[in-house]
């Protein structure tokens, strides 16, 4: 089983990636049972908030994003295995999140790294966004 997973997972990831690259012109009808409340919430979000052109478009976009995340994470995990020094720590990720978002604290990476070091002691599963919030709160209280 372990051997099978190790050998087959990269091929599966590659195949998922290929399928995601194909254009979306060819479609299929599908019957999925989803919670009624979720369906109704999606219909409201589309109809009243205009978050997507249709509930189908909303569902498709969410599914695509999730599958792309799965592929990217598998590729990154394999890369970390071969190049351990490339694996970012929580401080690196907090800085990257701030940079991508254009957050003002992106200009203070050392403050973010300190906040990451503080928060990870009590919350080992903290996310980069948790670090940003923590660093922001510390900056406000210090002002």
């Amino acid at each position: 089983m372990w051997y099978s997973l190790v050998v087959e997972t990269p091929a599966v990831i590659e195949r998922i990636s290929e399928l995601l690259d194909r254009d979306g012109l060819q479609t299929s009808n599908t019957s999925m049972r989803i919670p009624t409340a979720l369906r109704d919430a999606a219909a409201l979000a589309v109809g009243e908030l205009g978050v997507a052109a249709s509930t189908t478009a909303l569902t498709t976009a969410a599914l695509r994003a999730t599958l792309e995340a799965v592929v990217m994470q598998a590729v990154l995990d394999a890369h970390y295995e071969h190049h351990p020094k490339a694996r970012p720590d929580l401080g690196d990720l907090a800085v990257a999140a701030a940079e991508l978002d254009g957050h003002p604290l992106a200009a203070e990476p050392e403050r973010l790294r300190r906040a990451a070091a503080e928060i990870v002691e009590k919350h080992p599963d903290a996310s980069p966004d948790d670090v940003l919030l923590w660093a922001e709160a510390r900056a406000l209280s210090a002002a």
Binding site: A65, T66, H79, A96, S127
Partner: protein
């Protein structure tokens, strides 16, 4: 709102080469993008094809397997972007790759959030015109 993250030549080089001094920074950015996608954020990482040429990124080469697998999409130099890029290059005198990058920035829709990862923020601000964007310096 959709979000596009565009890479310049140096950013591409840094992703590809684990020995590049900015490799870990680029991997961190990719990791954050993957986390955002997992939360169903509509975010796409893209590379203008002229940037890919300048960087030597051949998608058929085994040397580029890691960037190939990171779901970084090509933005082609189509007719409209070629005209915009030509005007940018004529006006500012930047490289073809940077002019294409500027055309990509300028062709994004008003509602689209754009982030550019670059080693030359000054040039990118020049080619972007008055388009509002976030610049990540590497």
């Amino acid at each position: 709102m959709s979000w596009i993250v565009v890479l310049d030549n140096e950013a591409v080089q840094a992703v590809q080469n684990p020995a590049h001094p900015k490799h870990r920074q680029m991997v961190s950015l990719a990791q954050v993008v993957a986390s955002r996608k997992r939360r169903a954020v509509s975010v796409e990482v893209a590379v203008p094809t002229a940037v890919r040429v300048e960087a030597g990124w051949d998608r058929t080469s085994p040397a580029w397997v890691f960037p190939n697998r990171l779901r970084i999409t090509d933005v082609p130099l189509d007719t409209a972007r070629a005209s915009t890029a030509a005007a940018i290059r004529h006006r500012i005198g930047v490289s073809v790759a940077d002019a294409h990058l500027g055309a990509v920035i300028q062709s994004t829709s008003a509602g689209q959030q754009i982030t550019v990862v670059t080693s030359d923020p000054g040039d990118i601000r020049l080619v972007a015109g008055d388009r509002d964007m976030t610049v990540v310096a590497i």
